[in-house]
């Protein structure tokens, strides 16, 4: 699957897109290609411009500069109602004066289908989202999850080239959200339409997407697959935003073509490969290294390892049942770092103040400027 997608043709092309609201610079030179049939997410904190970008694609906002192509067509001057995109709104925007079937069939008025054909299309769309037989219901009689399904069916019935989803799960409770994440993913594979999801929830983006664009302050900070985003964030900001990452002051020098020598506070000296260095800059610019909590472990008394070992003290801990998150202050480092450990049988949770030996690998270090 991944391989065919990687070579799939671009369905949306953004070229140096700019958006101003008065003096406010909402989008700053966004360039990206979104491929046919992929599940693409725009991820970022609120105010980063992700919703603005989605709305420019939908046609609700004009571009201040730059170009936008959908399926090879320049979208300049094409209004929202003429674009091959459909949207699932954050509020779902279910028409309160219409029934479920009238909502789902809203966009069919302009198609020249017969009444029975339209009804069949509506029923098929409802069946697709698991709402068979709900057509006659009043829109207000629906639960949050059902409203979301109606919004999905309404947007998909027109068979858009691209489906845009604006934080569609944020109004649902945790359990419903988990369920809908799976269903959205399944639905997207089934219909094969390109989905673009806007979300501020990094976990949601990681679970659902083929590729993710992480946005800060109107710019794309990194566009990558979920795995690469997590393992090789290009900046501290991205590393911090996605999952938990510990940062240590560090310095790096080039040893030879295939080796870089890193000296990180608390961890000591290590040698890494050039693939761990984000492209485009010299190792000498290195200011810090990042390391994920689950790539380290605390050794128990008497336990031996062939990994690198650093020493420190357990300052605090949070017990999560299956996991425990320790705050360990390494010797010679000011701020404690987070280390996550599975709670295994026969391994009691450590207490505050315990001396801890921390095992780690040079391969899990990420260098940052």
């Amino acid at each position: 699957m991944k391989d065919t997608r990687a070579t799939a043709r671009p369905i949306i092309t953004l070229e140096a897109v700019e958006k101003y609201y008065g003096d406010y610079h909402a989008l700053r030179g966004i360039s990206a290609e979104i491929r046919q049939g992929e599940f693409f997410s725009l991820l970022g904190p609120s105010g980063c411009g992700k919703t603005t970008l989605l709305r420019t694609i939908a046609g609700f906002e004009d571009l201040s500069a730059g170009r936008l192509f959908i399926d090879g067509q320049d979208m300049a001057g094409v209004p929202a109602n003429k674009r091959p995109t459909n949207m699932v709104f954050q509020s779902y925007a279910i028409f309160p004066h219409l029934s479920v079937a009238e909502n789902v069939g809203f966009g069919l008025r302009r198609t020249r289908l017969s009444k029975t054909d339209k009804a069949a299309r509506v029923e098929a769309a409802l069946a697709m989202v698991g709402l068979s037989g709900y057509g006659g219901r009043a829109a207000h009689a629906l639960s949050g999850g059902q409203r979301q399904r109606v919004a999905l069916a309404r947007a998909l019935i027109l068979e858009p080239t691209v489906l845009l989803l604006d934080e569609p799960l944020s109004a649902l409770d945790k359990k419903m959200r988990d369920q809908m994440q799976g269903e959205l993913r399944r639905l997207q594979r089934q219909v094969g339409i390109t989905f673009i999801l806007v979300t501020h929830d990094q976990e949601e983006a990681l679970i659902m997407s083929d590729r993710i664009a992480v946005m800060f302050e109107g710019q794309i900070a990194q566009l990558d697959t979920p795995q690469m985003l997590y393992r090789r964030p290009v900046s501290r900001k991205v590393g911090e935003f996605i999952g938990v990452m510990n940062f240590l002051p560090a310095r790096a020098t080039v040893a030879d073509e295939t080796h870089i020598e890193v000296e990180a506070a608390g961890l000591g000296r290590a040698v890494i490969g050039p693939d761990q260095l984000p492209g485009g800059w010299h190792p000498g610019q290195t200011q810090s290294v990042g390391i994920r909590p689950e790539t380290m472990s605390i050794l128990y008394p008497g336990e031996t390892t062939d990994r690198r070992v650093a020493t420190g003290v357990v300052e605090d801990l949070s017990y999560y049942g299956d996991m425990t998150y320790y705050e360990v202050r390494l010797d010679g480092v000011e701020r404690p770092m987070t280390i996550s450990m599975k709670n295994l049988v026969g391994r009691p949770v450590l207490e505050r103040g315990t001396e801890a030996r921390v095992a780690w690998d040079a391969r899990s270090l990420v260098l940052f400027a």
Binding site: N81, H97, R154
Partner: protein, 295 residues
């Protein structure tokens, strides 16, 4: 702690507390509204001969009111004028409400609404009288048009007739129509319009399929809030209506204060209330049907 122990004893039931609070305003409304309205209804079944009131119940007043062409015409004309005022006011108010709700920036909306409401709070009598000044034979309107050479002699069809009453009342009740429509439009989730556009509809069809149906409760409220008081208006027909613009309220006043025939006046008042209620019920029913399938 002691408070909590005493709590249940002082804490009367919710209903009792509610009744206790509402008792005074309710008593006031019962004594000064319900009883008088009942009295009017009772009165309308009495009859009066000069200064003596005959308290035997009779339908004489109603028979007279509905058969005498003078009364019948007045009732009918009041209804027609009110309907015309309502139509004119609501139709001209809608675009204003729409403009303020959709095109005025949020921080300036309160100011616009304030601007629209100010004229309403200035002396009603003087406002109506000023329309007489504007529309009169030598009025501002005619002298201006004459001065500009647009007309050769003063227009006469704009004062002392039903037209003048409609214009003046449409002016007086404008804020009453604008506000409920504005409130209904404000309540519409803006993403509904985007959803309609997203699903392929243009601006006009979005207005027909989404905005107008959702604004309907406001329109119905506007219709009622304009229609009800205008049908009983006294000042405007008196000042600008002329003999052909008189309405039912003028006759009620005449019966009570001039002809000293309170029972006849009461019967006309009851008939007016009946017309108002009938129209109100029709619109409330229409509104229900619009609201079917909504919160």
């Amino acid at each position: 702690m002691s408070d909590r122990i005493r709590g249940p004893r002082i804490g009367r039931s919710e209903a009792a507390q509610g009744y206790l609070l509402v008792a005074t305003p309710l008593a006031y409304a019962l004594l000064l509204l319900a009883v008088p309205l009942g009295a009017i209804v009772l009165f309308s079944f009495w009859s009066q001969d000069y200064l003596t009131i005959d308290t035997t119940l009779t339908l004489k007043n109603y028979r007279e009111a509905l058969s005498d062409p003078l009364y019948r015409q007045l009732l009918l004309r009041s209804l027609m004028i009110s309907a015309a005022v309502t139509a004119a006011t609501v139709l001209t108010a809608f675009p204003i409400a729409y403009y303020v709700s959709f095109y005025v920036p949020p921080e300036r909306k309160a100011m616009w609404i304030f601007l629209i409401t100010i004229p309403f709070w200035t002396s009603y009598l003087i406002r109506v009288f000023l329309w007489k000044v504007i529309l009169g034979y030598n009025g501002v309107f005619n002298t201006t048009l004459l001065g500009l050479g647009i007309i050769d002699e003063p227009l006469t069809f704009i004062l002392y007739n039903a037209n003048a009453v409609v214009i003046t009342l449409a002016h007086a009740y404008a804020p009453f129509a604008i506000l409920p429509i504005f409130v209904a439009l404000e309540k519409i989730d803006r993403s509904l319009h985007e959803a309609s556009r997203d699903l392929g509809e243009g601006y006009l069809s979005t207005f027909w399929r989404v905005t107008l149906p959702l604004a309907m409760p406001g329109v119905v409220a506007a219709v009622l809030i304009v229609f009800i008081p205008t049908i009983g208006d006294y000042v405007t027909p008196m000042l600008v209506g002329g003999p052909d613009g008189r309405m039912i309220a003028n006759m009620i006043q005449t019966q009570f204060l001039r002809l000293n025939n309170a029972p006849m006046g009461a019967a006309l008042a009851v008939l007016t209330m009946a017309m108002v209620s009938a129209v109100a019920l029709v619109f409330v029913f229409l509104n229900r049907r619009f609201l079917r399938g909504r919160q």
